[in-house]
Structure formats: structure tokens, C-alpha cells
């Protein structure tokens, strides 16, 4: 009985893996800014916004680049 139960779990789990594995993740998983950055080493954590002030008083804000939509391209 024990063997049958665990065999059933193993087969069912493999079935789920081979079907669900080929499906894309949810939007919630994909569309977020804090995803793992695989090009960076693990100890390079989430980068905080850095603001540095220049001698002339201007400020440089160092943050992640964002998508900028150009409305004139759509027209």
C-alpha cells in the first residue's frame, strides 16, 4: 500500500512537471523589477538608489534603466 501510494505520487508529480514545466510563468512572476539577476554574483544584492551631488550642485541619480515610450513612434 505504501509503495503504491508513493509510486502514484512520483508518477503524478512527473506528469505535472513535464506539462507545467513547458508553460510560461504567470505575469506576476515575470513582470517585476526585483527578479534574480543571473549576470551578477549572488552577493551583489538589490541595488539601492544612489544620489551623488556634484561640485556645481547638480545631482546624479543612479537607478536601474527604465523603458521609455516614445509616443511619436506609435503615430
Amino acid at each position: 500500500m505504501n509503495t503504491l501510494f508513493f509510486t502514484f505520487i512520483a508518477v503524478l508529480s512527473l506528469y505535472i512537471f513535464f506539462n507545467l514545466g513547458k508553460v510560461r510563468s504567470s505575469q506576476k512572476q515575470r513582470n517585476r523589477a526585483d527578479r534574480v539577476k543571473w549576470n551578477k554574483s549572488p552577493w551583489q544584492g538589490q541595488k539601492a538608489t544612489q544620489v551623488s551631488e556634484q561640485r556645481d550642485g547638480t545631482k546624479i541619480i543612479d537607478v536601474a534603466a527604465e523603458d521609455v515610450e516614445n509616443k511619436s513612434d506609435k503615430a
Binding site: N2, T3, F5, F6, T7, F8, I9, A10, L12, S13, L14, I16, F17, F18, L20, G21, K22, V23, R24, S25, S26, Q27, K28, Q29, R30, R32, D34, R35, V36, K37, W38, N39, K40, S41, P42, W43, Q44, G45, Q46, A64, A65, E66, D67, V68
Partner: protein, 246 residues
Amino acid sequence: MSRHAALETFGRSGNPVFGEKFSQRQNFAGSQAMSLEGAVNKTGILLALCFGGSFIGWSNPGLIWIGLILGFVAAIYTSFVPRNAHIGAPAYALLEGIALGGISMMFEAQYPGIVIQAIGLTFGILASLLFAYKSGLILPTQNFRLMLFSATAGIALLYLVSFIMSFFGSSIGFIHNNGLFGIGFSLFVVAIAALNLVLDFDFIEQGSEMGLPKYMEWYGAFALMVTLVWLYLEILRLLAKLQSRR
């Protein structure tokens, strides 16, 4: 993903291994690019090879050390030369299967029925975490990765020290005994091994989104396989500790 966001995610490499892999993303498209389906199918091939190897190991337990050592060599080679993962990953799966077959046979002789329980639990955890990842119940971040990396490195160091101490007739008692602390430690290691699966899913998902070269399917499947082998062994140890208390 916009061009700028892609650059932020993959373009500025701090890690030479991943940086080199991800920087080639734009040269590949269509059938030449990594896909989810390809990675899952290749994981299936590796699992089949591992099961095949385990039948050999089960009937020849003397091959355990050969499987472990050569499997380790194949794993190191694949990690550093991902371009040849189509050779290294199947070799790793087969050799590790031989070692797992022998180890499983020894556990089964001592605790009948333990192997099928460990297999069922391993694949059960795989499917549950895959569902949690795909649905967005678990959202891995860079800090999550750091936490897992630290915990995994700590466990590896502890095992290494214990292994070296065993040559001098000593060992770190609590990681091997069946007391409450030993079982708690095993539970912790199983949890860390299981959470590593989430990172593997994320690597495969992001790699296919960015259109990495095709051979990275083998590399992703290999990463998943390494974690599954580790998870299976830890579950086997945990179940053995639990059964030895009866």
C-alpha cells in the same frame, strides 16, 4: 522586456561565467534559442539516464565510488564548459545514477520501502515547487539567491569538514545522529535543497525569455538534475534517521 531593462538584467556582468553566457543572447533566435520545452525535455532525458544508471548501480554496489568520483568530475566539467553540456550533463546523470543505485540499495536493505518513499517525496517537492514558482506564489529575488547561496555554501563546508574529520576517526556528531537535533538539521538541509529548485526554474525561465543559445537547455537541465540528486540523498538520509528511531 525593453532593451534597457534587458541590459540592466543581463548586460552588465559581475560574474564572468554568467556574463559570457548571457551576452550571446541576441545572436540566437527561433530554433537556435533556448526554450522551456527543450529544457524540460532534456531534463526528461537526464532523468531517464539516471534511472538507467541506478539499475546498474543497484546490482553492482561496488561501483558507488566510481560513479561518485567520475560524476563529480563530469559536474565540474559541465559547470565550467557549458558549451559542452550536451556531453557533460548526460555523463553526469548516468554516473550519478550508478552511485545513487548502489546507495539506494544499501538503504533499502536496512530500511525496506525507504527508496520509493524518497523518490515519491523528491518528485512531489519538484512538482509542488514548480507550481508555486509558475503561479507566482514564490517570487525569487537577488536577496533570496544570496540567502540560499550562503546556506548551501555553509552546508557544503560542514560536510567537507565532516568528511576530512572522518579520515582521523572522528566526525561532527549532530549531522549524522538520529536525535532531534540531527533530524532538525536534516530537515533544514532538505528545505535548502528544495528551495534551490526554485532558482533552477528561474534560471531556465529567464534564459528562455532572453533567447540564450540552445546548449543552455542542457545546462539548465543539468542544474536541475544536480539539485534533484542532492534533494533525493538528503530525503533518504532524513527518512533513515526517522526510521532508525522506531
